[in-house]
C-alpha cells in the first residue's frame, strides 16, 4: 500500500465501539499504529458502512488515559491511590487471594461480573468455571437486558427469533429467496443509536427504502416514529396491553394464519376449568405421560392424546386423521372417576384477548383505539411482516407475559421463519461462542453439581432452565445477608456498576465497599474500578483474536496491533484459568477457538482466512420454514423446540413454575396508576436510557469526537411541562424522586409527551479527574431507580417507567465543570 500503510481486515466486537459487534472493518496500520479505520465494503453485515463510535477508534486506541499497566490499590477503596505492578505480580496476587477465598468459602463465594455481554461473556465464564464458580453475573437488576427476551421466547417457541433482513443469505436483499416485509413493527427502539441486539440497525433503513412501512411503538417521537405509517405513542410499561389489543383485533377480525394455528400451536389442547391447568395424558390415562397432552378430536368425537415424544396424535380410532377441536366446552373423564370441564387453549387465549378491546387498551396505554385497530390490521394483513423489539421490552418486571403476547402476534399471523418475517435464529453453524440463554457451548462448568450453588437458580424457573447467570438482585441481597453462603470476592470485567449498569448506585457503592477482594479489568479508569484491589488493562477489538457467532455470520476477530502492556480479556482470563484449573482443557487460546467453531467444519485459521462464513442451505442455523421441514428439532420431526414441540400459547414451563401460562398486562410497580400516592409528589413518568449514537452506555465520554456531539447529560421535557415547571431549554435542572436525585441539562422538545420525561443514562465525567469517583453520582439517573423489582420469574426491572418530578435547582445545588468538559471534548 502507499505510504507503507497496511490494511488489515477484522470484525468489530466490543471494546472500542463498545457494541455487540459484527461489522467488517479495514484497519489502516502504519508502523504498528492505527492511522485510520474504515468499513469493509466486502462485508455482508455492514457493507462498508461504519458508525461514529467505530470511526473514532484512532482517538480511542492511543487515548492518553488508557490503562496500560496492571495496578495495585495502595489507598482506601474508592480513593485514587494505585501503583503500577507487573502482569506477573498482578496474576500472583490474584491467584493467591482467589485461592484463599476458594479454600475458605468455596468457589461460589467469588462472583464474576460483566457489564452488557458482548465479547466478554465466554471469557468470563471460562475463568469462573475454571475457578469453579457458577456465579457469572450480568450486573443489571432483573438481568433486564436481552436475556429475558431470549428466555421468554425459549419458553414459548423454543428458539429465539429476530427480524429478517436477509442476513443469512448470500447477496443479502438481492437473494431471490428473500422477501421485503410490507410492514415492520418497531417496538421501543431508536435507530440512530445504531445497532440493537446483534443486528445492524440501519438494515431497517435499507428495508424502508425497499418499501417496508413502519408501525412505531414508542412514547417518544423518534425519527422512526416520524417516518412511520402508524406511530403509537404508548405510555411506558403498558406494552403488554397494547400487544393484547393487537391480538384482540386480529382474533376478532380473524386475521390470523389458520394453517400455523392448526399445525404449530398448542391451540386445541384442553385446559381444565377446575384448576386452569393443562389436561395431561397422565390425568386421563393410567400410566400416561405428564408430558403428553389431550385434545378433543372432532373426527372421533372424543379426546386424543398428543404424544410429545413422537410429535403426533395417538388417536383412539385407527382410521381417520385426528382433527382436534380448537374451540368448545368439553367434559372429560379423569382418573379417579371425576369429570372435569375443559376448554381449549385457543378458546382461553381468545377469551383473555377479548378483555383487551381497543377502547380498554386506549385507557391503559393512551394510544387511540382507532390507531390500535388500524395498526393491528395493517400488521396482520401485510405479508410478510416482522417485528423488531428493543430493550424496553426487557425493562419491565412482567417481561415474559409481554414477550408472550408479542410472539403470539408473529406466530399467529404466519410470520415465523418466513422470508422477511421473524425468523428463528441460532449461532451460525450452531458454533456457540457465547452461551446465550438456552444455548450450550464448549465452555462449561466441569461438574454440573457446581451449578447448584448458582444464586437465584432455585428461586426463579428460567434461571434453572435457560439462563446460566446468577440473578443479580438476589446476589446483592446475599452479599449483605451472607445467606445461604457468604460472597467474598468480585471479578469485575468491563463493568461499571456505579455509573451505568447498577441501579441504585449508592447501594452498589456499599457492595463494592463490603467485598474483600475485587479485580477490575477494563480499558480506562472508571468510578467502579476505584474500588478494585487489582486492575488489569484490557484491549480493544483491534488488539485481539476472537471468534463471533452471534447469529450470522461466523466471523473471526483478528489482532492487528498491540498497545503497550494491554492484554485481551480472553488472554487475561485464559492465563488465570490455567492457574486456577490444573486440568484446564486448552493449551492455547486458539485451541479453544478451534473447539468453538468446530461445528462449522473449519478451524480458526481457516475461518480467519475466509473472514466470515454463512451456514449453507439446509443447515438448521439458516432459515426458512425450518419448523415445517423438521430442521429445528434434534429428532428431525417438524415442529418447534419447546418442551411440547408447539408454539405454546399456553406456556407449559410457566405452568411448571407456577406462573401465569397465558399472556396478560399487569401495571408496573411505579406508575401513576399503580402508585397514585407517589404520583402526587412525583407526577411525571420518568423513562430512562434514550440511546445516543455516539455513546455505548457509560463509554466514550472521554472520546473527543464523540463527546462533542452529545456533551451533557440531557433530560427531554415537553414544552408544556417545562413551562409548568418554569424550566428553560438548556438549563441544568434537578430530576428527583423518593430514591434520590440527579442533575440534567433540560432539552425542551415536543418529541416527548407532557406526562413523561426521558433521561439519558450512563453518565459520569472522565474529565473530573480531581474526584476519585469522577462525579458519577451527579447525573446518574439510576440514583432514582430501585433494585429488587424484578418480575416473578426473576427477570425485568422498571427502568423505563418510574416516577419523578423536575425542578429548578436551589442555588449551589448544581455542580458543573464546563471547562473540564470542553477540554475533554477537544483534542
Amino acid at each position: 500500500m502507499s505510504n507503507n500503510i497496511e490494511i488489515v481486515k477484522t470484525t468489530t466486537w466490543s471494546a472500542g465501539p463498545g457494541c455487540h459487534g459484527g461489522c467488517g472493518v479495514e484497519a489502516h496500520i502504519k508502523n504498528g499504529k492505527l492511522v485510520k479505520i474504515e468499513g469493509d465494503p466486502d462485508h455482508p453485515w455492514n457493507q462498508g458502512r461504519l458508525c461514529a463510535r467505530a470511526l473514532a477508534m484512532t482517538q480511542y486506541i492511543d487515548h492518553k488515559d488508557r490503562l496500560k499497566k496492571p495496578l495495585k490499590r495502595v489507598g482506601k477503596r474508592g480513593e485514587d491511590k494505585f501503583e503500577e505492578i507487573s502482569w506477573d505480580e498482578a496474576f500472583d496476587i490474584i491467584e493467591e487471594k482467589m485461592n484463599k477465598i476458594r479454600e475458605d468459602f468455596g468457589p461460589e463465594s467469588m462472583i464474576f461480573s460483566m457489564g452488557t455481554g458482548r465479547d466478554i461473556g465466554p471469557w468470563i465464564c471460562m475463568l469462573a468455571y475454571a475457578y469453579g464458580s457458577p456465579n457469572v453475573m450480568f450486573a443489571l437488576s432483573g438481568n433486564a437486558c436481552y436475556s429475558p427476551r431470549i428466555a421468554a421466547l425459549d419458553t414459548i417457541q423454543g428458539d429465539y427469533s429476530v427480524f429478517d433482513a436477509a442476513q443469512w443469505l448470500p447477496g443479502r436483499y438481492d437473494n431471490p429467496e428473500y422477501k421485503v416485509p410490507e410492514c415492520m413493527i418497531i417496538w421501543g427502539y431508536n435507530i440512530p443509536a445504531t445497532c440493537p441486539d446483534n443486528l445492524f440497525g440501519h438494515w431497517i433503513i435499507d428495508l424502508m427504502k425497499k418499501g417496508t412501512k413502519i408501525i412505531c411503538i414508542d412514547p417518544r417521537l423518534s425519527w422512526f416514529a416520524s417516518r412511520s405509517k402508524y406511530w403509537l405513542q404508548i405510555r411506558p410499561g403498558t406494552d403488554a396491553a397494547l400487544a393484547m389489543g393487537f391480538l384482540h383485533v386480529i382474533i376478532e377480525e380473524k386475521l390470523y394464519d389458520h394453517n400455523f394455528l392448526k399445525k404449530f400451536t398448542d391451540g386445541p389442547r384442553l385446559l381444565r376449568e377446575d384448576n386452569g391447568k393443562l389436561l395431561r395424558e397422565s390425568h386421563v390415562v393410567k400410566g400416561g405421560s405428564v408430558e403428553n397432552f389431550v385434545v378433543f378430536d372432532k373426527t372421533s368425537n372424543t379426546i386424543a392424546i398428543w404424544d410429545t415424544t413422537l410429535q403426533e396424535y395417538k388417536s383412539k380410532i385407527k382410521s381417520g386423521k385426528t382433527n382436534p377441536a380448537f374451540s368448545g366446552q368439553f367434559e372429560v373423564d379423569v382418573l379417579g372417576g371425576k369429570k372435569v370441564q375443559c376448554t381449549t387453549v385457543w378458546d382461553k387465549f381468545c377469551e383473555n384477548a377479548k378483555q383487551y378491546s381497543p377502547e380498554e387498551v386506549e385507557k391503559i396505554t393512551f394510544v387511540p383505539a382507532d390507531n390500535i385497530i388500524k395498526a393491528a390490521r395493517f400488521y396482520a394483513k401485510s405479508k410478510p411482516a416482522s417485528i423488531h423489539w428493543g430493550v424496553p421490552i426487557d425493562m419491565t418486571p412482567e417481561i415474559t407475559p409481554l414477550c408472550h403476547a408479542i410472539a403470539a402476534l408473529w406466530a399467529l399471523t404466519g410470520n415465523l421463519d418466513v422470508p422477511g418475517g421473524n425468523v428463528f435464529t441460532r449461532s451460525a453453524f450452531n458454533a456457540v461462542a457465547y452461551a446465550l440463554p438456552g444455548a450450550e457451548g464448549v465452555i462449561k462448568l466441569k461438574d454440573q453439581d457446581q451449578d447448584k450453588t448458582r444464586i437465584g437458580r432455585d428461586k426463579y424457573g428460567p434461571f434453572n432452565k435457560f439462563i446460566w447467570r446468577c440473578q443479580t438482585d438476589t446476589v446483592i441481597d446475599q452479599i449483605f445477608s451472607g445467606k445461604p453462603y457468604p460472597v467474598k470476592g468480585l471479578w469485575m470485567q468491563t463493568c461499571n456498576p456505579l455509573s451505568g449498569i447498577g441501579l441504585d448506585p449508592k447501594l452498589w457503592q456499599k457492595v463494592l465497599g463490603k467485598l474483600e477482594f475485587i479485580v477490575g479489568v477494563d480499558l480506562f479508569m472508571t468510578p467502579s474500578l476505584r474500588y478494585a484491589d487489582i486492575i488489569l488493562p484490557a484491549s480493544t477489538f483491534l488488539e485481539k483474536d476472537g471468534v463471533r457467532s452471534w447469529w450470522v455470520p461466523l466471523q473471526t476477530i483478528n489482532k492487528v496491533l498491540k498497545v503497550d502492556d494491554c492484554r485481551p480479556d480472553a488472554e487475561i482470563n485464559f492465563e488465570l484459568a490455567k492457574r486456577f484449573d490444573p486440568d484446564f482443557k486448552w493449551e492455547k487460546l486458539h485451541d479453544l477457538f478451534d473447539d468453538i467453531i468446530e461445528p462449522s467444519g473449519m478451524n480458526f485459521k481457516e475461518l480467519q482466512e475466509k473472514g466470515w462464513a454463512l451456514p449453507p442451505e439446509g443447515h438448521p442455523s439458516r432459515p426458512y420454514h425450518r419448523h415445517e421441514k423438521g430442521l429445528l428439532r434434534s429428532d428431525g420431526k417438524p415442529g418447534l423446540t419447546t418442551p411440547t414441540g408447539k408454539f405454546e400459547l399456553y406456556a407449559t414451563l410457566r405452568e411448571e413454575w407456577n406462573l401465569e401460562p397465558l399472556p396478560y398486562h399487569k401495571e408496573p410497580p411505579f406508575t401513576p396508576i399503580s402508585r397514585p400516592d407517589l404520583a402526587k409528589d412525583y407526577p411525571l413518568i420518568l423513562s430512562t436510557g434514550r440511546r445516543s449514537p455516539v455513546f455505548f452506555h457509560t463509554e466514550h465520554r472521554n472520546i473527543p469526537w464523540l463527546r462533542e456531539l452529545d456533551p451533557d447529560p440531557v433530560v427531554e421535557i415537553n414544552p408544556d411541562t417545562a413551562k409548568e415547571n418554569n424550566i428553560l431549554h438548556g438549563e441544568w435542572i434537578i430530576v428527583e424522586n423518593w430514591m434520590g436525585k440527579a442533575q440534567f441539562k433540560a432539552k425542551v422538545t415536543e418529541i416527548v409527551p407532557p406526562w413523561m420525561v426521558m433521561a439519558a443514562h450512563g453518565w459520569w465525567f472522565p474529565e473530573e479527574k480531581d474526584d476519585p469517583l469522577f462525579k458519577t453520582f451527579k447525573s446518574n439517573i439510576n440514583m432514582l431507580i430501585p433494585m429488587n423489582n424484578q418480575g416473578k420469574d426473576g427477570l425485568g426491572a422498571p427502568i423505563k417507567h418510574l416516577l419523578c418530578r423536575i425542578r429548578k435547582p436551589l442555588s449551589n445545588e448544581i455542580v458543573h465543570n464546563e471547562e473540564e468538559r470542553i477540554n475533554q471534548c477537544q483534542n
Binding site: 458502512r49 458508525c51 461514529a52 482517538q59 435507530i191 440497525g201 449514537p693 462533542e708 422538545t749 477537544q826
Partner: protein
C-alpha cells in the same frame, strides 16, 4: 456562472432517510484529522416540523460546511468521500451531476450539493 470544462461534481443527499446517526461527522473528522471542538466538513441538522395533520416530523439534514473539500484526495484515488462511504443509511452519493441525475429518488425531495 460558466460552462465548466472539468466535470461538475455533486453530492446527492436522499435526506428523507437520514437518521442523524452522526457517522458522516466522525468519518470526516477522522479522514481530515479535524480536531474535536473545531468545525469539520459536515454536521447534521435536526429539524422538527409539525405537519398539517398535526404529526411532528423529524428531518435530519447533513450540511456540508465551508470545510468540506469533497474529499478531493480520496476522489482522485478513485475512492468515495469518507462520509459517503460510511453513511449508515446510504443516503449520500458522490459523483458527476450527470450520473447523479439517474439516482434521484422518485417522489421525494432530495438535495444535490454542488461543488461549483
Amino acid at each position: 456562472m460558466s460552462e465548466l470544462e472539468t466535470p461538475q461534481y455533486g453530492m446527492l443527499i436522499d435526506y428523507e432517510y437520514c437518521t442523524g446517526c452522526q457517522t458522516c461527522v466522525v468519518a470526516c473528522k477522522q479522514e481530515h484529522k479535524h480536531s474535536a471542538g473545531k468545525l469539520g466538513g459536515v454536521e447534521v441538522q435536526e429539524l422538527i416540523h409539525k405537519l398539517p395533520n398535526g404529526k411532528l416530523y423529524i428531518t435530519n439534514m447533513p450540511f456540508f460546511t465551508e470545510m468540506c473539500v469533497f474529499c478531493v484526495k480520496r476522489v482522485k484515488e478513485g475512492l468515495e468521500p469518507a462520509c459517503v462511504k460510511h453513511c449508515m443509511a446510504n443516503i449520500l452519493t458522490f459523483g458527476e451531476i450527470d450520473d447523479l441525475k439517474k439516482e434521484i429518488p422518485e417522489k421525494r425531495k432530495s438535495i444535490l450539493w454542488i461543488k461549483g
